[in-house]
Symmetry: C2
Subunit: 137 residues, 2 copies
DNA sequence: TCGCTAATGATAACTTATTATCAATAAAGG
DNA sequence: CCTTTATTGATAATAAGTTATCATTAGCGA
């Protein structure tokens, strides 16, 4: 990166403030809220640049295309809501002593991916619709 | 399925006896050991049929294409060796009470994916090469 | 403000995995 | 052994996500 463009700022800003990993389409939508002309080509280009420069990281879930989040979050897992399809960060830790492992295998790292309903997709009372999402995507 | 072909038998046999999830290319290689003319088109077709019929299931890992295993294994996780890229089943359980979850989120299911070195890829002594794989793929 | 050129936007091209096509082959019943 | 037709093998086509191309736009130093 050599120039500080509105597009780049909008993209990194969207990812930084989202509080959860964003898909390329979510990044596009959030970025266009700031720079309406933002194109998907610039999103892909900038996501690659920001990754190379160490600002963001791809989040890979089974059978899905990459989402992106900032690199400053430390060790955590991910929760995918089966209703709204958003992915959330989970910072609660799993006790290492409870990690299963086959005999004679050395575990170097692991991923834990939770699936279920996020707080916005759990109806509060019978017959009530889920409340509006906290996030703009 | 209406006819009991050598190709179908070779494919289901390979998956049944592998003891771990196989990629489409691994299924092709194992099947060709029995039916040399076996084509990748037949592998894809048969994997789809066997899945529909409930004999096998796709195993999805982040950023990778599907592997397949028989449906009779019960709940388990997967271990991917970072050296030989094979995926192994892990039948040891994780204690449910230790599952992290964000407040007000309902966890319906979860995946645990371990990464590290399998027993065949851990050198037994200094300077010794890893022993031959237990499996033919 | 000017000028250089990196960055952008629109879209074509590409990639990799998977599916469709169709003539040739081979199960399985008679 | 025949006949029927489901299945196969070879390959073209497809799909979705990502990357390349290139004329235009716009940072930013002078």
């Amino acid at each position: 990166m050599e120039r500080n463009t509105r597009q780049r700022n909008a993209i990194l800003g969207a990812i930084s403030s989202a509080g959860r990993p964003l898909s390329t389409q979510e990044v596009l939508a959030a970025g266009q809220a700031v720079v309406p002309s933002l194109s998907i080509a610039t999103v892909y280009r900038t996501l690659k640049d920001l990754t190379t420069e160490g600002w963001i990281l791809p989040v890979k879930l089974p059978g899905e295309s990459d989402r992106y989040e900032v690199t400053t979050l430390g060790e955590h897992y991910h929760f995918k809501c089966s209703s709204c399809s958003k992915v959330f960060d989970v910072h609660e830790r799993i006790k290492n002593s409870n990690l299963p492992a086959p005999p004679n295998f050395v575990v170097e790292k692991y991923d834990l991916i939770l699936y279920g309903r996020c707080s916005n997709c759990i109806p509060k009372r019978k017959g009530q619709k889920p409340s509006a999402a906290k996030y703009p995507f």
